[in-house]
């Protein structure tokens, strides 16, 4: 009995003196993760996330944007933009992919730079990239979460409000102005800057060029602000040559993150054909045979009419639309453009020249519209070799010949010419081409009239919001819909009114 008691007392003592959680704090530290990493690592990743994966480049950029603005035409039913079918998940693919990657990344980068007391070049570069990310999303949907977005960890905002597009534009322009101002002569980004290699001059030029793009986007909604910001951008110094093109360099692997998302689409999907609208505009243009090649069952470059299917159908006007049995007789994008290692273009010098031409036409600057137009056309032709393989080279002589012939400037329809050329120059930058068409109405497009069209045969004006937002962020979503108008494909956003 006594022994028993001693045993228990000893045991009790052992129990009471045990540290039951000895070593637990160390055990619960992940040996494969870091508490913080260098901002450069995040910057490179965020640029690649912005360039995007196959998912959103396929659905939003190609299936919707590229066919809505008739760069491409297709027979396939799932290419819903060609006949204005409704596929919600395609419409929201940029949003779905960008917020949890590029937006989350850039907000984290800016927070880290703030915490590190950085108010120089790196912060300026990050702010420009941030504007670029958000401007594509707002141009796609209208009012979007902006000022509170991407801050779930930073300040615990789980249900960001949607900012009115007008506010977003004003803030983005202010951001660009401040960002350009804080960029100095050098940066520490180096190779982590997979766009410009850390070259601050190019970043400043891009910042001002983005300012010009955003300014011009407002011409319908707020011409006075558009003018003020455009003038400010031009005087601040925009891109001056194809050396300044804002593009993300890609490699063919080793991972999906390294590849051009469009290239990944081309690898698996051969539905995209040159739209005959685009083909008509490229008549007499040396780019026709550079951007496109004959279909596998053809020897000449022929554009496919938009809105066709494999069989005949009766359209909304009661007309019979002839079926096309074989897509391979129509031109397809040139193999040189289809690589997974070609750069993804965000903004080009050529675009800038066309916008400057427009500013001149509007009388906002003293520049010569014709000169800007011609600079733009030449740049648009000659940049191809700077972006794509050398086989895409167009000579200065060919460009001059075009400007002397089919592309000769005609001041009486200068704006239309500029915008049509803008549309050509933004082939494979489909977000921009689609936005600029909505702003300007150029090029003039004829809508297709398929009976299954979601929009009764009208070209869609925006992409709808993700369905999940109504449940996960209901108040914000409802407020946005109340302000902007019904969440439909034809509701016009602020700058498109």
């Amino acid at each position: 009995m006594r022994n028993t008691l001693i045993t228990f007392l000893a045991l009790g003592f052992i129990f009471a003196s045990c540290e039951f959680d000895k070593g637990f704090e160390e055990m619960n530290v992940n040996p494969n993760a870091a508490a913080q990493i260098g901002v450069g690592n995040k910057f490179a990743k965020t640029i690649l996330d912005t360039s995007g994966g196959r998912y959103e480049n396929w659905r939003n950029s190609f299936i919707y944007n590229s066919t809505l603005i008739q760069h491409h035409a297709t027979l396939a039913g799932y290419w819903s933009g060609d006949k204005y079918y409704r596929v919600d998940s395609y419409a929201t693919s940029l949003w779905d992919r960008n917020y949890p990657s590029a937006v989350k990344g850039i907000e984290d980068i800016i927070q880290q730079l703030k915490d590190e007391g950085n108010s120089g070049s790196e912060m300026g570069m990050a702010r420009i990239l941030r504007v670029f990310i958000y401007h594509r999303i707002t141009d796609t949907h209208g009012d979007i979460p902006y000022s509170e977005a991407g801050k779930g960890y930073i300040d615990g905002t789980l249900k960001p409000k949607y900012d009115p597009q007008q506010d977003i534009y004003m803030d983005m322009l202010k951001e660009l102005e401040e960002a350009v101002a804080q960029i100095g002569g050098s940066s520490t980004m180096g190779v982590s800057d997979v766009m410009f290699g850390g070259n601050t001059t190019k970043w400043k030029a891009w910042g001002n060029s983005m300012m010009l793009r955003l300014a011009m986007r407002m011409t319908k909604a707020d011409a006075a602000s558009a003018q003020a910001w455009a003038v400010k951008a031009i005087s601040g110094g925009t891109m001056t040559s194809n050396d300044h093109i804002a593009m993300v360099r890609h490699t063919d692997g080793p991972g999906g993150i390294n590849r051009n998302g469009h290239g990944e689409v081309f690898l698996v999907d051969s539905q995209a054909r040159m739209s005959d609208t685009f083909g008509a505009h490229l008549a007499g243009d040396p780019r026709l045979s550079v951007l496109f090649e004959p279909g596998n069952d053809a020897t000449t470059i022929v554009g496919m009419p938009n809105g066709r299917t494999g069989s005949d159908y009766t359209d909304q006007s009661g007309n019979t639309v002839a079926g096309i049995p074989n897509r391979h007789i129509y031109a397809q994008p040139n193999a040189a453009l289809r690589g997974m290692d070609v750069p993804m273009v965000f903004q080009t010098y050529a675009e800038v020249e066309f916008l400057k031409a427009e500013a001149a036409i509007r009388g906002w600057t003293s520049g010569d519209a014709k000169t800007h137009y011609e600079n733009g056309v030449k740049a648009a032709m000659m940049m191809l070799k700077d972006i794509y393989p050398a086989s895409t080279a167009i000579t200065a002589a060919e460009a001059d010949a075009y400007l002397a012939g089919a592309g000769a400037y005609d001041a009486s329809k200068g704006w239309e010419q500029c915008m049509n050329e803008y549309w050509k120059a933004t082939y494979l930058n489909e977000y921009e081409a689609y936005a600029n068409w909505r702003r300007t109405g150029y090029p003039t497009l004829t809508a297709t009239k398929h009976p299954n069209s979601e929009t009764s045969g009208q070209i869609m004006r925006r992409m709808i919001y993700p369905g999940g937002e109504a449940s996960t962020n209901g108040e914000s979503y409802s407020a946005a819909v109340a302000r902007q108008g019904a969440d439909t494909w034809m509701t016009r956003m602020w700058w498109d009114k």
């Binding site: 637990f24 040996p31 990743k45 779930g152 996960t472």
Partner: protein, 1039 residues
Amino acid sequence: MKTKFTRICTSILLFFALTLSAYAQQVSGTVSDENGVPLPGATVVVEGTSTGVSTDFDGNYSISASQGDTLVFSFVGYASQSVVVGSSATINVSLEPDNSLEEVVVTALGVKRNTKALGYSVTEVDGTELSANPSTNAINALQGKVAGVMVTGSAMGAKGSSRVVIRGTSSLTGNNQPLYVVDGITINNNNLGAAGVWGGTDFGDGISSINPDEVQSVSVLKGGAAAALYGSRASNGVIIITTKNGLGSEGLGIEINSTAQFDMLNNSLWDAQTTYGSGFNAQVPSSKEDALSEVYSAWGPKMDGQLVPHFDGISRPYVYTGDNQEKFYRTGTTFSNTVSLSTQGENGNTRFSFTNLDNDDISPNSTLDRNSVGLNTTQRFGDAITLDVNMKYILEEQGGNPRMSDAPSNSNYSLKLYAPSVDVNTMKGPNGDGSNEDGTEYRTTNGIYSQNPWFAAYNFVNDSEKERFIGSVNARWNLTDFLYLRGRVGTDRYDYHRTVSTPFGTAYQPLGSISEYKLSFKQLDADAFLGTDNLALTNDLSLTAFVGLGSNYVESESVSANGSQFIVPGLVSFGNTKNKSAGYGYSEKKINSAYGSAEFGFQDFAYLTLTARNDWFSTLSLAGKDAPNNDLYTSASLSVVLSDALDLGPDISFLKLRGGYSQVAGGADSPYSLNLTYGIVGQGHLGASLGQINGGRIPNTEITPFEKNETEFGVDLRMFDNKLSLDATFYDNETVGDIVGVSASATSGYGSALANLGEIANSGIELLLKVKPVVTDDFAMELSLNYTNNDSEVVATNDTGGNISLQEPRSRNLRVTHIVGERYGALFGTSFVRDGNGAIVHELVNGYPRPKIDNSRKILGFGVAPQQIGIGASFRYKSWDASVLVEGKSGGQIYSGTNATMMGTGAHKMTIPAGGREAGFVPSGVMEDGSPVTISIPHGQQSAYWGRYNDAAEAGIYDSDYMRLRQLRIGYNFPSDMLDGSFIQAASVSLIGKNLFFISNSVDNIDPESSYQAGNSAGLEWFGLAVPRTIGLNVNLKF
């Protein structure tokens, strides 16, 4: 935290301070039957120990036992009897035929207890239930057998994971499957792969490795009171599996158990239309291009035998070509052979077994091969020390696991949607395996995201190999006559290797890819406890108690090599890829515990059991954290055997009332989730390294495990000499502080933030009714009925009472969602706009009516069925025996993506109006102005109608009620006189049938049990495989 623990320790120690002295003695006596005839070979065991002897030819025994020990006397065919050793050295016992109630069951921590002392419900299932109706995944044999336990297989067939939920789900988003304990140690039940919205492959779960032939018994600890000693891992109940030992085998016992089973596609529910062929707008495909785009489009005209071009450019008669699933699937075979050797000696027993299971699934090229070796031995060292060693070595290879859910390479997608004029047998291609001569996919459609089913089956690689060792050593040392010390260490570890390859030439990934994945998993369990059995505190009061320490450590490490873009076509090798990347993962976690249990018995009719356990978690430990990293769990339960306390008359054989209250816990089991971390990803880009935030969840340092409180009451009534028995349990439980993802908009950059905010309540009833109307020497019959009803309610979700979203099907018009005030797992999706009378409202599009879709989401049903019924009957006539089990579930719904898609493609019969499509189709419902729809939609426009119709998730919602013949078995035991003179001691043969047919079913075309995953998102179906029909033959020989 130390203070709290010291308090527990002190209380437990107090029990022991109350102990009285006792002394060992030799007890002897005679065991006889009810007529006084001596019983040779009866077993006498000191309860709670391995000390045991057998009676001699005259029924005499002699055993060393202490005053207060319980001797358990048992003999086959007779009810066991327990006698507490008193002052007398002689105990004579007469056993009654099998109508006694002194059953001993395995309870928490492997402690065997008398059922009558239990204040909670434990169901023990005999191992023969598993081995006689063998299932590739042993746990599936419990389907419909245990009230309160819902077992659901997956839509993958033999190798699929199972979902087991006991007394309703306790967590909104966390694990809801029980803890599995095999021979005293916890084993891992991780799912090694599951399908989601974008598809995937099920690679089985951990419990499926257990060999059904080796199971002695399964104890299901359903409620918190039963499971409380497992503390923070007890919230979902515990399933304790004990494997066979060599007890009762004199000399050398050899047993051979062989089963051959044949699985067949159960397409009895398939009922697609066979009238209209491939085509569109009522026209046949006019070209190869058309055929390629219309292979899934059954919107052609009535099939009339004309020649039409097919996907390969060949024209064939336009006729129904037969059921493509029947053509594709094969008869699956499963051969399982077990040889076991067992022996019992004076001081111990040993059993060795070897099992080979060889399964060819009904899906072509899909196989499972499993070899299991088991060795269980018990040895007594002297009088005081007993050692149990249990070892299992399992080598399992799976090959060709089919892909499920979303279309890419899910054969079922193609098979079920091919238009009736399309014949899958024309798709084998030049190599016969769905490939072209160059090895690329023999394309049958111009969409890239659905594969030629032959190509998917024969060219995709989904292979795995698992080498697993489960072992435990259990030592018991009788320190004094009344005090024992038990120590146990055990491990479950496996090495797993998986190869997954998308072949070169696959439509959606033309250059292919391969992934090699290796996982090394290790779990170590250790326990030590000090206890006393049936210690007489006073004449009326006895104590059974123990106090212990435990730890559970889990470590897993994985490496992966991923390559894409094969260079040499056809060479499926990581080395043969252009782009290579590697991955590495590591995690470890530990729980340390201190626990104690005390059972007070009063006059052998009332028992009060108290337990307490404190757990410390590494997963909740973080430097600088304020919230505690440990928690205390307690339970109390009471059992009163009224039939022992009072005279209830001769009709009542037994009546017990029981009740219990418990606090257990769960969740918070992921390491490294308390703080935000960053990682380097990919392989860099043009000289830059890439980094990002790890994970899509916002971490919370203050997270704790959730708590689950449960109250249960039960009654155990047996009447008329046990011919009628009723076991009923009522329970009510509530989970509070469940770890939920506070809903976040994706625009916050994150999917969710973690917080202890969820609350769920379950209440339910479990009934087991047994009737034995006839019991004679030659004929016996038993009927049983078990019934479960569980009512669940989501009480709280998160900060705003917002919905918690789980998975969605590929149509993405519905999500499994937890909604406050509703049942667990609502199917929340889009619906039809309806008028006040419920008629579908239509709008005119292009001149024709189309249903209007309400895109705001509504509750369309609930994926978890609340009711389950199992009706069993067993018969014995002389040497024959037979049993049948009918199982059913009701009250739940399923979203059938198969049916919804079939409506759009014209495969579903409901797309054919009464007069045929040619006569036009007037949808039932109203127009927007309230007038009935009168416009007839011509044949060519009907596809547009149905294409819109299935935009409403409502179109795919069905009740998932069913009743099916789960098991049927007819056996014959060769009488011993037939075997006399042969070397065979016993022989039996039985015929088995499983899932042979449905008695009722409320879903079109699919098996209501074909959800594509075993997780919490129950009720989502997307081109699953019906549970196959099985017939089999089992032969058992003992030498």
